[in-house]
Point group: C2
Chain length 351, copies 2
Amino acid sequence: MKLNIALLAGDGIGPEVIDQAVKVSDAVAKKFGHEITWKPALTGAAAIDAVGEPYPDETHNVCKSSDAVLFGAIGDPKYDNDPSAPVRPEQGLLKMRKALGLFANVRPTFVFPSLLDKSPLKKERIEGTDLVFLRELTGGIYFGEKGRRDDRNTAYDNCVYTKEEVTRLARKGFELAMQRSKRLCCVDKANVLETSRLWRETVQGLEAEYPEVQVSYEFVDAVAMRLVQWPSDYDVLITENLFGDILTDEASVISGSMGLMPSASLGSDIGLFEPIHGSYPQAAGKNIANPMATVLSAAMMFENFGLTEEGKVIREAVNKALAEGIVTEDLADGDKAYGTSEVGDWLAASI
Amino acid sequence: MKLNIALLAGDGIGPEVIDQAVKVSDAVAKKFGHEITWKPALTGAAAIDAVGEPYPDETHNVCKSSDAVLFGAIGDPKYDNDPSAPVRPEQGLLKMRKALGLFANVRPTFVFPSLLDKSPLKKERIEGTDLVFLRELTGGIYFGEKGRRDDRNTAYDNCVYTKEEVTRLARKGFELAMQRSKRLCCVDKANVLETSRLWRETVQGLEAEYPEVQVSYEFVDAVAMRLVQWPSDYDVLITENLFGDILTDEASVISGSMGLMPSASLGSDIGLFEPIHGSYPQAAGKNIANPMATVLSAAMMFENFGLTEEGKVIREAVNKALAEGIVTEDLADGDKAYGTSEVGDWLAASI
Ligand SMILES: CC(C)[C@H](C(=O)O)[C@@H](O)C(=O)O
Ligand SMILES: CC(C)[C@H](C(=O)O)[C@@H](O)C(=O)O
């Protein structure tokens, strides 16, 4: 297979972890006879510094002419204390999601048996946790009309959803549930919000098409509790943009393996794959960042092309590295810590 | 002091736990020479069954002519599966909050040393946790315009905040912080929402009036993570209605003492005091529900009248009951479990 992959390294540790995912992907390509052409492009604070905006047209063109996007991280502390600055890295992120039609953010949370001790939760609470959130990513209050009135003393944000937006996300949820344990949880606040009632009735309307899937409906506040109490009860969860933002981050810390969690954003033909961790500016350039989440994001990318064996080989390499202690300092626990690039080299070599 | 207290027992276990809070409050009144007149009124599903609506005018009149409201719980499974039914208990709750001007929901999360083991979190993560959320309760997306258009295929919910609404809640936050460790965290999503930017700039504008308070600003998704990772880092948190709904529920389970957590809703002269747990219909009428959260809510009520000693006496009685194992089955751990009313009798007698 010939693959053109846009490479958006972004800010902070982005470039370093992306380098390792490239190494590993190239090793996989070599082993399976694929040919990958990497097409680097600017994004985030790096793009603002270079050309004045966080998601320049040129970057969009590179993405549009690629088969997928591999993304590092964005965010720079110099923008953090002024959320109303006219140009910020986050705007690029939202623009990119919308422009590429990435309406479904896929965020798995699973545990690595060797890392159970890292969790803030007790072992018996998280054992067996293996859930996936599908977060709607291009609608809701993120993209509704927003502004000020009354001399800027009143602010408003509109949350809007259409039936089509809910349907396409929900269908992905049902399909994913069919590939897994056939359980789907629709997370909403239908006791208060009209958009949630639309979500609920739309999902209810799809149930008949997927008779094997067992669907439950839970309020977002209840899920925020139960994720901490009994995370392993969940399988596939679908939810709207803002609830998804909050709950996927909450879910990511319960496993204790946050630094290892990959994600995918899907929608149009072009998927985007990225680690869930941020740009971690304090660690930038120090060769200490954990590249495994980005490497596992590359695995999701292969799997999304239907290349399941290729994905599996990467996952096995990561498991082996964890078992043999070939890890960066965040997982070293006082034992020898390897550098970001050493872990990447080891993973590539073991493939 | 002469006190008129509206008594809204509500649904499920509400009446049973309220009975114990009445017993304990009467014991306190006797000890300190106060005179409490209890004025029962209907609310929740019980009110729908009796008079067709969840917060009848008559109940509102009872509340308005009282000095405070002691509230049990509302919710009945017969309404749960149809969030768009024309009359539901939750509507009564929202109407009551608005009608009584209860704009500040005060939700403490603290740990009882003897109950640390009940937490889903590891002991070393929750030790020392003692935080309070101030959730805005009468604005935001809960009360904005909502509806459908395009033949019901598009739904919308408006989130609106005015500077005054933010200011009055934030002031309560600063004042509470001054009484505690002088740390205040403003939780928002100012990188995306205009209402959050109004929140942030309004709180920033108040900082100069409270120079001793150290204020931090965190995004809601980050707080959802850090509450699980390092709950004891937080002290006073202020936030808008929907974020508060999600985060206070999340916070309530980390302590392991959810069944013991009280709350207050303040605003006008009349405060409302209630346990954070729900109506727990499976346990209704069985004399097994834990009354301690309601009893501690009564303690908050006394404290809100400035009767700190009275509140303290109740808290001490609860601590003593926990230490001596005078607890309901949820806390009995295989040892003898006492009934709801026995725990109430014991607490009243020990005062
Ligand atoms: C940076 C921010 C705009 C973004 C979001 O809220 O979607 C981030 O939190 C995420 O989850 O990808
Ligand atoms: C029942 C519901 C409307 C209510 C809310 O969302 O405010 C509840 O979850 C709460 O937190 O008191």
